[in-house]
Amino acid sequence: MTAPASLFEALEPLLAQVAKPIQYVGGEVNSVHKAWDSTEVRWVLMYPDLYEVGQPNQGTAILYEVLNELEWVMAERTFSAAPDLAALMRQAGVPQFTLENHLPVSAFDVIGVSFATELGYTNLLEALDLAGVPLHAAERGDDDPLVIGGGHAMYNPEPMATFLDAAVLGDGEQVSVAIASIVRRWKSGGRPGGREGLLKQLAFTGEVYVPSFYDVTYVPDGRISSVTPNRPGVPKRVRKNTLMDLDEWPYPKAPVVPLAETVHERYSAEIFRGCSRGCRFCQAGMVSRPVRERSIDVIGQMIDTGLRSTGLEEVGLLSLSSADHSEIGQVTKQLADRYAGSNVSLSLPSTRVDAFNIDLANELSRNGRRSGLTFAPEGGSERLRRVINKQVSEDDLLATVSAAFGQGWRSVKLYFMCGLPTETEEDVLGIADLAARVVEVGRQVSGTRDIRCTVSIGGFVPKSHTPFQWAGQAPPDVIDGRLFALRDKIRADRRYGRSIGMRYHDGRPGQVEGLLSRGDRRVGPVIEHVWRSGGVLDGWSEHFSYDRWVAATDAALAGTGVDLAWYTSRERDEDEVLPWDHLDAGLARDWLWADWQDAIGEHEVDDCRWSACYDCGVCAELDTSIQMGPTGRTLIPLARVTGRA
């Protein structure tokens, strides 16, 4: 294919008429501009949301560098056009474009879409439509791009099956290179077997899921009867991808520096991947096992390179539970030493509730202000925390906040979920008591009434590949009822109520997320119906319409015998075929079921990093193992040569 012409000239007059036009122009520092003809395989990487949300996404940033480092690959980015620009593009006939060279997305070989959340689904349909790429995989021809989904939502891609040519599970670094190589060989070999031939080559690897190669049948009551390959040689189950040596893949090295304002303005270094804490609600923790740490010296080098290549001043030490790195004390201390006296600030998102974290937080705030600390007990009562396996006692929590208040911190934010399995109104009201005790302890320890506790609550959404994949989701009215009762209880507390803030969202978007998380292929028409009736940007409260989703489920599921409640609030039996059972996250189904039974029985399970293996199945199934320190290594001192004339 000859190089397509840039769309920028056609786009420029439209940009003068829209909000935040800077998000569409590209040209940022560290963006990669390659010549079309000098490459053989061309990718578009899409995060299906607005630039301000999508550009900071770590996964997309990693793949952008990994792919562009291959000289025969060209990878450009595209994001959702906001409704104001989308309308003008349709009017003016300007298709979905990439940011680097403003090329039409439809001219590329692969569109790789990162679904961190299911609420991005309608945004892919909008982008494909704007691109002029047929919406359904079955309608695409040899010259249309392959549309491949990745990201955590793709652990159950079934609701998107009809729109995706393929989906990949797990870490993208190696599999994206493997896909690019297969596409390269297929193109240079004269496209043997056409599009189907290419998809077969991908499917035969066992690491790329091609939904059209599997047939789904249903039993009369609506449950799935079977999911079976419909082509010879296609594996019965598709494995997730696991990157086993993070030190070998120190990405991103030089992430794109946005001109536009984005949700995160920091350099993030992933300090480890995976988590074996075993929180039963947490899909990320379950599917990303085993724990694989990055070494302290590599972390230090990534941060130095990252800050110098971007000019950013904030560093995030990223992981699912950052304080669990085996050398986190040294990592934070040595980084704090290195950047003492500079304007570089360090942050440690996702920390546990224990006093050790206060030491870390103190270290990271050496020259800054001690404003607020965040902890996530997740469940309001000890009983409920046993159910979800969040091993935090009330004493732990109070000891931790007491230490924090004693060392100058003045506000604490606590994260909880509402609608957890076995939860009662009493469990949720327990949050008010806990918050009141936090304030009480804070006032005592600090000797001031200037203490604040903010409670932030989200509705729980059961996810695939977790022990709660069988659970019934609490309907929106139940969640809302409990949240209002909690709000009233906090308001009625005369002693502490005014020091407690409460932030929550209503339960309705969570129900839609639940439908998309545990849905099957029959949910595809619902998504399409929503998009056709104008639904996009479902992650934005100003765009999300619950009524539109309800109307779409009524219309698109009519005659199937199943409905919104069937997908969300219904508890599943052990023997029910789940839509994602043919997708292998490494977890043994028997273990997940046993852990679900343990949850109901309020039995906890320990972290396998520090106690015995409990046979979740991942290491045996995928031939992987836990990789952790301590390594005893240290940060390599920076040799800085500043060429100031």
């Binding site: 935040k20 520092v29 911190w409 001031t448 004339a645």
Partner: protein, 235 residues
């Protein structure tokens, strides 16, 4: 924490540099805030020894007088940097130019002298692309505006619609070619922008209808010398 003392006072700048830069092509769509972020990051990448403000969150000492609006291209934007060390202006021009994103280019760097930039940036000259308006209509509208004593326009602001007179700020306005106007305006409060002049022309002559929103480019900014704009970095 409330009782904690702010960090020690930062030293005042030892050198001030004035930069002239352009905003072209895709970078025209950068807002003032977008540019400020890009410049501050470029300064850190280039390791320019900035002086910082005091307080809990010190900021590099940079002043941004009279930035062009989002969507406007410009050949002549100005900022002033306060530095912690004395450096060569040419070095700053080179390293900063390399560190800035596409479309933002440093044209000149000179040591700050004399009156402040804000005092010197008295007027701007703009080219306005009014594609779709017939030439006679352009001529008629320009003559009509220049002949009037007051021309009121309305602009949507955060506080609602406000009405003001654009005419006193118009120092010169002429037709360059079949789609371009040349406008020189004095910086007043409220600032009369090229967009406001387009609204004024449309208000005066109903046939003054653009095929698409006007694209504007600032050509010069500086002291008003009575018949032209002077160089704000000299004298």
């Amino acid at each position: 924490m409330g009782t904690r003392q702010p960090p020690q006072q930062q030293a005042p700048p030892v050198q001030k540099l004035r930069l002239e830069y352009s905003k072209r092509g895709r970078a025209r769509f950068a807002s003032h805030r977008d540019f400020a972020r890009a410049l501050e990051r470029a300064i850190r990448r280039a390791e320019i020894p900035m002086a910082y403000s005091s307080g809990f969150s010190p900021h590099p000492r940079i002043s941004y007088p009279n930035a062009a609006p989002t969507g406007a291209a410009s050949e002549c934007e100005y900022v002033e940097l306060g530095l912690a060390l004395v450096v060569e202006p040419d070095w700053v021009q080179r390293v900063l130019g390399e560190a800035l994103p596409l479309g933002l280019d440093i044209i000149r760097v000179v040591p700050a002298e004399g009156p402040s930039l804000t005092e010197r940036l008295q007027a701007s000259r703009w080219l306005i692309d009014v594609v779709g308006v017939p030439r006679p209509v352009m001529e008629q509208a320009v003559a009509s505006l220049m002949g009037a004593e007051h021309v009121l326009v309305q602009r949507q602001t955060k506080a609602g619609v406000r009405e003001f007179d654009v005419r006193p700020a118009v120092l010169a306005l002429s037709v360059v070619d079949d789609r371009t106007l040349d406008f020189t305006g004095r910086h007043e409060v409220p600032l009369v922008r090229a967009d406001d002049v387009v609204s004024a022309l449309a208000g005066l002559v109903p046939a003054f209808v653009l095929a698409r929103p006007a694209l504007v480019t600032r050509l010069a900014q500086g002291p008003w010398l009575g018949d032209s704009i002077g160089d704000p970095l000299v004298g």
